[in-house]
């Protein structure tokens, strides 16, 4: 049964107070992540003494990593929320649907080819985007049965895509030399290891641009929850909306995957939790997922860095360890009451 006390609908005031609270949460997570790590540093010394090792560790290693966690987590969670609106299924997510896997394969192929000629900084995210877009459209079309999106067919197609892309990545892995093999493993596991500031800026810019487009269509995503036909009858050009989400989410996933590899389940856990607490309105869910995803990723990466320090766990393993059981729990709920989350 539902909580009778919940808000009946979203107002601007409610939206800003929730987003404000989430920003505070993000700041707390980010400061914690910047303060702790395998090496013990003093934040005060890092800021005051430019010659100290604390300064070097903070600005060369920890800060870019935290920032990368912020932008990648934000992108993945916001994309998750948008994909769920697109397929009307709370179990959809870039990693689960095999879109991130497609993007990773595109990135790897570009990496291998452009290592010889240079220009990889542009080609890798571009190919990741192209392959992600291809995967999104293919998954969507294949899950269509008689003009209806079958929720469980969609998930099965995602499973197949993941297996297929994984095999293709392994194939490339076997064919290339050891230096590449290491990067390829990194992509498969999903990691925020050793990012550069220029990578952070690239993901941030593409992510923000994509997010702005999604926000512009947030109310239309609400209407899409009523079905294609009802959305159209309420004035939404459903085909245009669908294409917009295809392209926008693919750009965003492509950008994230090209720097961090396949980090799954963030796009599932974060929007689902936020929807449960704050309601389903996408005008709040999208920005809340953006901020909440950043906080979640930064926290997960902190665990990845300190859990077995000085050794490190890939952050993708942490998110998958949380996300696997979470997914099963949601799947069981879905079975009882279809499409009601």
């Amino acid at each position: 049964m539902s909580e009778q006390t919940g808000a009946a609908h979203l107002t601007r005031g409610r939206m800003f107070s929730i987003l404000g609270a989430l920003i505070v949460l993000l700041i707390v997570c980010a400061v914690a992540a910047a303060s702790f790590g395998s090496a013990h540093i003093s934040l005060a010394r890092a800021f005051t003494d430019p010659m100290s090792p604390d300064h070097a560790i903070f600005f060369a290693a920890r800060l870019p990593r935290v920032l990368m966690g912020v932008v990648v987590g934000a992108v993945l969670a916001a994309v998750g929320a948008a994909l769920q609106a697109l397929v009307r299924n709370p179990l959809a997510e870039g990693g689960i649907l095999g879109i991130s896997g497609g993007g990773a394969l595109g990135a790897i192929i570009a990496l291998v080819i452009f290592a010889r000629f240079g220009g990889g900084e542009v080609a890798v995210p571009l190919c990741a985007f192209g392959a992600a877009l291809l995967s999104t459209v293919a998954v969507y079309r294949l899950a269509m049965v008689d003009g209806q999106l079958e929720p469980f067919t969609l998930l099965l197609v995602g499973v197949i895509f993941n297996a297929f892309w994984g095999a293709a990545i392994m194939l490339v892995n076997s064919a290339v030399n050891f230096y590449f093999a290491h990067s390829i493993l990194f992509w498969l596991m999903g990691s925020l290891e050793a990012p550069t500031y220029s990578e952070v800026v690239m993901v941030a810019l593409l992510g923000l641009a994509g997010f702005a487009v999604l926000m512009f269509r947030a109310r239309d995503m609400n209407l899409l929850s009523l079905g294609d036909e009802s959305a159209a009858e309420l004035g939404v050009d459903v085909d245009v909306l669908r294409r917009t989400i295809f392209v926008t989410t693919s750009v965003m996933i492509g950008a994230a995957v090209s720097v961090s590899g396949i980090i799954s389940f963030v796009g599932l856990i974060v929007p689902h939790t936020l929807r449960l607490v704050f309601g389903a309105d996408h005008r709040l869910l999208l920005p809340a997922s953006l901020i909440g995803g950043a906080a979640f990723m930064v926290a997960a990466d902190l665990v990845a860095r300190v859990a077995i320090a000085p050794a490190e766990i890939p952050v993708g393993a942490i998110t998958a360890l949380c996300g696997g059981p979470f997914f099963i729990y949601m799947l069981r709920r879905e079975g009882r009451r279809p499409l009601s989350l």
Partner: protein
């Protein structure tokens, strides 16, 4: 002098390779209630989709208040015509009020939040369908009848001139059927709203509709007042079974029944 809200001239429509409607014409005056009746598969829902613009005609034309349906921009159309389909599945847990407020979308810009005015319209729509006490509930938790009313309230929040309702009373009990028709009668009296509804229930059509269109295999068999259309002769031909049409002794209204077990036994 009444204005014509909707006019369909010899429309044909269907799915690729499967023609459904063959040259159906109708004309509904503003404020009238039209019932579309006919056997399963006669094309009732398809006709409603064509009238709502969600399905294209392959022949003929549809006019809304004298303008061609195809020439009206999507959002403007959504401010003129509201549709309630048979299937009302909602993904995600929206509250009843949120669903009804979605009816305001065609009136709002992309970033505009619903104003006090929009909230008042949604609240009035909830009140009219006796849903105010459910405003905070999630639609998934409601009964079939309650959910149906939520979608009728959403259509009302669109403030349309024409409401297209596909089996609005399916699975509802007698009290709610009577109430829903009473509400739409009020709306037609108050603001001249035109209602076009497909109905399985011939007695409801006889009781509540101003005009009846009898469809069979995608063709209009009869079109006129309930008394003209709902005759034993017409109904027996279309439904291919014995039909008794009499008068309700207490009201004098039309009363339509299957012809009875005796003839059913004879047929076997």
């Amino acid at each position: 002098m009444t204005t014509t809200a909707m006019r369909a001239s010899a429309i044909s429509a269907g799915y690729p390779g499967v023609p459904v409607l063959h040259g159906v014409s109708l004309e509904v005056a503003a404020g009238e209630m039209l019932a579309i009746v006919g056997p399963n598969g006669a094309g009732k829902s398809t006709l409603l989709k064509v009238l709502g613009g969600s399905m294209k005609v392959t022949g003929g034309s549809v006019d809304l208040f004298g303008r061609s349906l195809g020439s009206i921009e999507r959002r403007e159309l959504a401010r003129t015509v509201a549709s309630v389909g048979q299937e009302n599945a909602v993904a995600f847990r929206f509250t009843v009020l949120e669903i009804v407020l979605m009816g305001r979308a065609p009136h709002l810009g992309a970033f505009r939040f619903e104003s006090r005015h929009d909230l008042e319209i949604a609240t009035a729509a909830l009140e009219r369908f006796d849903l105010l006490h459910l405003a905070r509930r999630h639609v998934q938790e409601l009964s079939g009848g309650e959910r149906k009313r939520v979608f009728l309230a959403r259509a009302l929040a669109q403030e349309p001139k024409i409401a297209l309702l596909d089996e609005p009373t399916a699975f509802l009990d007698l009290k709610h059927i009577a109430e829903i028709f009473a509400r739409f009668r009020e709306l037609s009296a108050e603001r001249g709203m035109t209602v076009i509804a497909t109905l399985h229930d011939l007695n409801a059509a006889a009781l509540y509709a101003d005009r009846v269109l009898l469809l069979s295999s995608g063709t209009a068999v009869a079109y006129g007042t309930p008394d003209e259309v709902l005759t034993a002769e017409n109904l027996e031909r279309v439904y291919e079974t014995g039909v008794y049409v009499g008068r309700n002794p207490s009201t004098g209204g039309l009363m339509i029944l299957p012809a009875g077990t005796a003839s059913a036994r004879q047929q076997v």
